[in-house]
Assembly symmetry: C2
Homo-oligomer: 350 residues x 2
């Protein structure tokens, strides 16, 4: 009798577990609250993937583009790649000591946070160009990978690659499961993001479009060829550079685009202006407790990153973009290593 | 009895057809003779795809790049895209009549073949820039598609998109069946090739890397955005521009590269110089009867297209590239519509 009771209990347990699995299986976006944003995403996917639907798009033509900083992972208070470049200034000035006394390198080396936060856009560009060029593409990849494996966000004490948003990881997976090719279209450096995009988001390097410098082909003394990163801007993948970069690197207009700031405006416009069903979404950082709240659209302090202006909010409304509220639409914020997109036990860079 | 006889005949026919399919199924490259070139391709694919092999490459990382003109389809005596641009000169000078009296447009309009064949590289570049820019990307696609549907090669009296090489279509399919992403890496215009790459080779637009001009984002009077093709060169995808373009657009070094001329040299070098097993192949046009024979390496007349020099031949040998002879290695030359890669009944542009 005892055995029979245990068996019944076990059966009941398994049945319940199975029900739970089914429920989770039915919900492609379990970290999203059941609000209008989630409904808009699911309804859109159903419209374009259902054979016979007037908005049906063949699987081979389904393209989804995502901004990275502030859309897929944390961008506040400063872009991760800029922190990387600041750290590289130390290495650079060891190789070229004459730069130690030159601005803006001198300020970066001083470690004076107040002064560093006041660096101009031109200063930042100078730092980026100097620290992201002059080495072979293989060297660059090795250096960036090493840095990403050890650097940690000061607030969360976790590697930057663990500060991706769980609800967005679910959107990426949901779209891929429905035949979409998912792309990152970032103002950040294309070569930098490609180092970790596959392990962190399940997005291969060839599906990362970003700000790109040129390279130069040459040979070493044994005739072995190599590519050197050059301080020559080929694509500034911000603002109008996003649709231009999408045309250059993908050649198709996206069906879905997701952004969070004025730098994504043209990508969202370009996507939504296509024929058939198109979905443009914009993420609002309005969750000071769980992440950050910023952007003048909310009367929140403006920052150098992720500007979300009133004009952008108005345009979202007039052009029919979906505004996603981090505070109201997301149950959880961060993806944990356990939920890494590639199925590995950690989403740190290999 | 008659019915029974017909049924038996039908069964026999089906059995034979099935046998044929099986035989073809065992040979991934049926249009290739059983020579060293074919063996090199098959051996390479087996090495990199066999789990446990020291040269195993995970499927997600398998990249194959193909030059187009002279490698996937006919380039002689003149690149198809140049013919397109010559035809567009007529349209352009209708819009801008002042160009009718200016060189090199005047020569093109004269129809004097002798004079046209003597146009310099700079003249050709001027024609390309003038005829490939100034319109929206949508307009350009529509115009190129229309031209491709009606233009015919004067020797074969067939659309250019039907002049692809059957043995190369088989290599593309064979690699894809083994997990490779196949890319076109062409000196030709990226936007031009993208118009027909999917229907003609089964290669989607986002897997075409080519010579690329910039675009400019703007709005029409109703606020609807569009992209205009600009006469500004972003990537000259020839020579060193090929590995540089591969890094820009793909971000991974290819495992296989296939070319046919000096413009492919650096791509073949770059591919072969990677770690593990790499395959670089170069196609020799030595079949005057079935296609063309050209290139100084064979004491054949040099031409403006597809230069295959003695130096290139020497390098192929010293760096271990596989030299493919059209005459000796290929059973058939042209893909027929019946064998179109997409399974459609014609490989003309949709």
């Amino acid at each position: 009798m005892k055995t029979r009771f245990l068996n019944t209990l076990l059966s009941t347990f398994l049945a319940l577990a199975s029900l739970q699995v089914t429920a989770a299986g039915n919900d492609p976006l379990p970290s999203w609250n059941d609000t209008a944003s989630k409904k808009a995403i699911v309804a859109f996917v159903e419209r374009v993937t259902q054979q016979g639907s007037p908005d049906f798009v063949p699987a081979a033509e389904r393209i989804a583009t995502f901004d990275q900083d502030g859309t897929l992972w944390v961008e506040h208070p400063i872009y991760t790649q800029v922190l990387y470049c600041f750290d590289r200034v130390g290495v650079l000035t060891k190789e070229k000591p004459e730069l130690k006394e030159q601005e803006p390198f001198k300020t970066v080396l001083s470690g004076d946070r107040e002064a560093i936060s006041k660096l101009s856009k031109e200063d930042l560009e100078k730092i980026l160009m100097a620290t992201l060029s002059g080495m072979s593409v293989d060297q660059f990849q090795a250096e960036a990978k090493k840095w990403l494996a050890s650097a940690k966000d000061p607030r969360w004490k976790r590697p930057y690659t663990e500060l991706t948003y769980q609800p967005m990881q679910e959107v990426l997976r949901y779209l891929r499961a429905n035949g979409f090719k998912t792309y990152i279209v970032t103002g950040g450096g294309q070569d930098f993001v490609r180092v970790y995009s596959e392990a962190t988001y399940g997005i291969p390097p060839e599906q990362v479009v970003g700000t790109a410098e040129g390279t130069k082909y040459g040979y070493d003394k044994d005739g072995k060829p190599f590519l050197t990163k050059e301080p020559k801007l080929l694509l500034n993948d911000n603002d109008a550079g996003k649709p231009e970069g999408i045309h250059l690197m993908i050649g198709r207009r996206p069906n879905v685009a997701f952004g969070n700031s004025t730098g994504d405006r043209q990508m969202l416009e370009w996507t939504k202006a296509g024929g058939g069903a198109r979905l443009s979404l914009i993420l609002l950082h309005d969750d000071a407790k769980r992440e950050y709240a910023y952007g003048p659209a909310q009367g929140l302090p403006d920052t150098k990153v992720g500007t979300f202006t009133q004009a952008l909010y108005d345009e979202a409304s007039s052009r029919g973009w979906t505004v996603v509220s981090m505070k109201d639409d997301w149950k959880t914020i961060f993806a944990t290593p356990f939920l890494a997109p590639t199925g590995r036990e950690t989403n740190q860079v290999k």
